[in-house]
């Protein structure tokens, strides 16, 4: 896919959770569109993967740095923004992609699982948006794109907590836009359905699941790929989306309309 028409040349873009799946595809898409990347990654495994992504971006002639960040810790989020500004002088786009969720029935959700999910998938988004906006507002321009979920719009078994958190992320985009849009900082959401990534393998490989979803739930008739989201994210980050504020674009092949 040629993303050069999105006019994102030389933009400074932070992508959290960039080492695999959706985050990786988005980071590569921005690089193909001409942007420079800050790849935020949770401390821990997959260092080789993030370094190979960095190399791939550099082979496209773009700059990339890796910043190990636990997005659930406000001080680390602040350090991510500081390092970005120190390296590139500005922040144009923040993509809040990192997240984590438990997958228990509501009756079995523990306090620990609740706190971990809310911290990784909501607190992280709020404070990363806040810290980025403090840089973007004085610039007079910024785009924050949250990765939501179709489960933030519809309910799904074993996802009570996740669905509530994602609905909160969707609504947060409206609320933050109200405070920041008139100063040039727009917040929107791209909400995928379950996407064919490494971390969702255990769900997709359950017997009958894929057939049920792609035949009955998704009019497009095929599974969501990480690359399917890239266009929507780049579009929202581009100057062509200047009047789109606080919106959630579902990229779900039509699942959620049923």
């Amino acid at each position: 896919m040629n993303y050069s028409s999105f006019e994102l040349n030389d933009k400074v873009v932070i992508v959290t959770g960039a080492s695999q799946g959706i985050g990786r595809a988005i980071a590569l898409g921005f690089a193909q569109a001409g942007a420079n990347l800050v790849l935020a990654k949770h401390p821990g495994p997959r260092m080789a993967e993030i370094e190979s992504l960095k190399a791939e971006i550099e082979s496209l002639g773009r700059r990339a740095i890796v910043v190990q960040t636990d997005v659930g810790v406000v001080a680390e989020v602040q350090a991510l923004m500081d390092k970005t500004v120190a390296e590139f002088g500005r922040i144009d786009v923040l993509v809040n992609n990192a997240g984590w969720t438990g997958t228990n029935d509501a009756l079995d959700v523990t306090e620990e699982e609740f706190d971990k999910t809310v911290t990784a998938s909501l607190k992280s988004v709020f404070f990363a948006s806040q810290a980025a906006a403090k840089v973007m507002l004085p610039q007079g321009w910024g785009r924050i794109i949250q990765i939501g979920s179709n489960f933030g719009v519809i309910a799904f078994k074993k996802r009570a907590l996740y669905a509530a958190v994602k609905a909160a992320v969707h609504h947060l985009a409206k609320a933050l836009s109200l405070e920041w849009a008139h100063q040039g900082v727009l917040v929107n959401v791209v909400a995928p359905c379950i996407t064919e990534t490494e971390s969702r393998k255990n769900i997709l490989e359950k017997p009958g699941y894929k057939e049920w979803a792609t035949q009955q739930m998704i009019p497009r008739g095929r599974w969501n790929q990480p690359e399917d989201l890239v266009g929507a994210v780049l579009f929202l980050a581009s100057p062509f989306a200047d009047m789109i504020v606080g919106q959630t674009i579902l990229v779900d092949g039509g699942w959620t309309i049923h």
Binding site: A181, P219, D228, G231, L234, G246
Partner: protein, 250 residues
């Protein structure tokens, strides 16, 4: 957002948002069939703008609220080749208090804003499926699908219905590789609402509802339509996107 090599048909393209869509599509590489209910120097201007981008343009006069006109429009549009993208933009707006609204006023608005989109989509999809071609439809709704303005008890339901039409058509044609989405524009600087933009009393009240604090331009809708019609949106269908500067969330 590139639409290189595609042929698009835009209804109501003689002015305002429709014109903005036609111009952006041409810039992104599409040939454009320009439909309007009357063809005159305005439609010729739009055609000239499309051609100035090095693209082909064809003006087709048709009242898209009439079945025979719709069928003939698609027949004539073939001159540019098979249609890949349909934008159902044609619409009319009148302002009449609910208690005074007549059957005729209800029917006129409903036929042009809703029935036309249904008929055009049907003819477009029948042809595409028969010829085993994929395609994309973009329907133009309105902020009034979600927000009240006075005297619109006919207009607002017709535009909210466009959203349901979008969803339901998308569900039936998805398997054929046809995507259907909807854009709800907010306050856009067009001739249709020039009276609002020029009113010192009304304009501040409306702008106060918009997070960005300003009206949009026809090209803002054009850009969103180009994205939704492009291959970059290949997994997006059945959706309605507000392009309103932050009105519906406020």
């Amino acid at each position: 957002m590139k639409l290189t090599g595609k042929v698009a048909l835009v209804t109501g393209a003689g002015q305002g948002i429709g014109r903005g869509i036609a111009e952006v599509f041409a810039r992104e590489g599409a040939d454009v069939v320009i439909n309007d209910i009357c063809t005159d120097e305005r439609t010729e201007e739009v055609a000239a703008a499309v051609r100035s981008q090095g693209r082909r343009a064809l003006v087709v006069k048709a009242d898209v609220s009439k079945r025979a006109d719709v069928e003939r429009m698609f027949e004539e549009a073939q001159q540019l080749g098979p249609i890949d993208i349909l934008v159902n933009n044609a619409g009319i707006e009148t302002i009449v208090p609910f208690l005074e609204l007549t059957d005729k006023q209800w029917e006129d608005v409903t036929n042009v804003n809703l029935k036309s989109g249904w008929m055009c989509a049907q003819v477009f999809c029948r042809r595409a499926i028969e010829e085993q071609r994929t395609g994309a439809i973009v329907n133009i709704g309105s902020i009034q699908a979600a927000r009240v303005l006075p005297g619109r008890t006919h207009y607002a339901p017709s535009k909210l219905a466009v959203e349901a039409l979008t969803r339901n058509i998308s569900a039936e044609v998805g398997q054929h590789g046809i995507r259907v989405n909807c854009i709800h524009p907010g306050l856009i600087d067009t001739p249709m609402i020039r009276w609002v933009l020029e009113s010192p009393e009304i304009l501040p009240l409306v702008v106060a509802q918009i997070s960005l604090g300003r009206p949009g331009k026809p090209c803002d809708i054009g850009h969103a339509a180009a994205f939704l019609a492009s291959d970059e949106a290949r997994y997006i269908t059945g959706q309605s996107l507000y392009v309103d500067g932050g009105w519906v969330g406020k």
